[in-house]
Symmetry: C2
Subunit: 335 residues, 2 copies
């Protein structure tokens, strides 16, 4: 899948920033691929990009309308369809990461055909995978693991890729979700794979490589989330990480979208090792990434220091304070 | 999905009984739904049903040709197509549990249309599911859990359903695989569900029910299998079992199809509780089902006795010695 750039990011009328996290992620990591954002009345999200019309976006060279939102169930709201058709009429392809296919909406399928536009469903892999084999592969792998969904696993992986490269290491981000695929241009939306092939898709994503190359894999879900733990386990088994970083949001009390309480960081470390050692007996934690956006700077520093000490691991907020402590630990542990 | 009965079981030319385990399962549990078997030259499987021609099957009232085999990759061999078309021409619907859709074969799709026959892809759920919620539901649930794939989880669940009913309990088998769906007429092939919805599909399969009704859920895979553990975990979370039975094949050393060694029964008990308590803190083991078909009767009895004593649980081979010890334990623990 190769998306034509630059992008126009469509936010629709989603209620808040979290529902538009795909768009925010693209802006954070590939801002210069985006000509602007397109919001409908009532939209509660704002990526900070200029608000542009379809005509202005085309003028600025936009090639693809990216539906930069995730909504519950992944269904495309009916009142967005005319906007999407308008973008195609003006000259853009459309890319989305919804659970339903773009071409399952008759108006969209018809407009794509009439105007010769491409429809990219990032979550719908047309690719087939083998089942997982569990055989140890050469190269090094790091997986970001969450105490919950939406705690910063993708950001942490992207920040680690950048930080490790700055430190002279060979690192490549491996995308497992729609935003990651938009950002890296490669990858697999692992939660959209048929259940039998989760681990196999993760093995495809992280093939044999040079002994000193790090594949930095974007984690998904949580081993303790009642909706998605199966995806998390298949990804853990398939990516057979040597190292993992626990990602945590300290103000959250319930797992996102359900009533299940959050596990502790220690629960997550212990369970990740217990399950991950099946395919990599040497699996070990190398850091804790704490999403402190809800905290003051003083509180953030205190939580980070306390958490790091309590677990004997480097802790940081990758967005606020960078990933250097974790990169140094990786260098020290795997030199 | 409602399959018209009786069935004609198609075995093709599969090399051995294991490749035809779907057909054997149907014969074991629903023999009077079957008019006979249809084998091609070179077939190494034999369910013991009479070999009948298509004409004889129709004469006996056959309504559905069941492709009763699983082959590597789940692909339909090209040289079976003319037989399937012949059955449709004679008046039968076709049901299969392959990875590829029956109507993806042009000759089969054309014959179905020309003759007005139904094509049932048991592994391809056209149903959509919600994501798992993890909320405790009324009623009681039992899940069969394997040390490996293909160790007798479906047989154990079906034998428990029968044994619990004989003991005056209200029990219903819940199918999670293609053979189980053929046997029960309801269910979901859970390994064919999109990864995000494994737990949600398991919740759909085991809805709220009377407090004293037992849903006896067919397990899948193993928490320790590098190909399929994600499916197993999603099923464990979604079915939120009160009780589980560990299924084991004592002569196996490697997990089926891979080089990973088998876990111990204690490993499986501990990990099932550690993960299953997320949605049901009271989860507990109630027995061990040992597949002793490779052992002499004396050896089988010795293994069963030793294993039961070592774990403080009733142990049996459901096929060889029945499930009564486990049923009695369930009655005692949940009265």
């Amino acid at each position: 899948m190769q998306l034509q750039r630059p992008y126009l990011l469509f936010l629709g009328d989603v209620p808040d920033a979290l529902a538009a996290k795909t768009a925010y992620g693209i802006v954070d990591w590939r801002r210069d691929w985006c000509v602007g954002q397109w919001r409908l009345p009532g939209c509660g999200a704002d990526t900070g990009l200029p608000d542009v019309s379809v005509a202005e976006a085309i003028e600025a060279g936009a090639k693809t309308l990216v539906i930069g939102v995730v909504n519950a169930g992944g269904v495309l709201p009916a009142h967005w369809v005319s906007s999407i058709v308008e973008a195609m009429e003006a000259g853009m392809d459309v890319a989305a990461g919804l659970h339903s296919r773009l071409d399952s909406v008759p108006e969209i399928a018809a407009a794509a055909k009439a105007h010769g536009r491409a429809l990219h469903d990032v979550r719908m892999s047309t690719q087939t995978f083998a089942t997982g084999k569990g055989v140890k592969r050469t190269g090094k792998r790091l997986l970001t693991i969450g105490t919950d969904c939406s705690v910063g696993k993708k950001y942490t992986a992207l920040a680690l890729e950048a930080g490790m490269r700055e430190a002279g290491m060979d690192a490549e981000f491996c995308a497992t979700g729609q935003t990651g695929v938009f950002i890296s241009g490669r990858g697999v939306a692992i939660d959209a794979v048929v259940a039998d092939f989760i681990a196999g898709a993760a093995e495809w994503l992280t093939p044999e490589t040079d002994e000193n190359t790090w594949q930095v894999v974007e984690g998904q879900g949580s081993l303790f989330h009642p909706s998605f733990a199966g995806v998390t386990l298949g990804l853990l088994h398939g990516s057979q990480p040597d190292a993992f970083v626990v990602c945590h949001e300290p103000t959250r009390t319930n797992m996102r979208g359900v009533k299940t309480p959050l596990p502790t960081i220690q629960d997550v470390i212990d369970m990740t090792i217990a399950l991950g050692k099946l395919n990599n007996p040497a699996i070990k934690p190398v850091g804790i990434a704490i999403n402190t956006q809800a905290l003051s700077e003083a509180d953030a520093k205190a939580v980070i220091e306390d958490t790091g000490k309590a677990h004997g691991l480097p802790a940081t907020d990758p967005v606020r304070f960078g990933v250097d402590p974790i990169v140094q630990r990786i260098k020290a542990d795997f030199s």
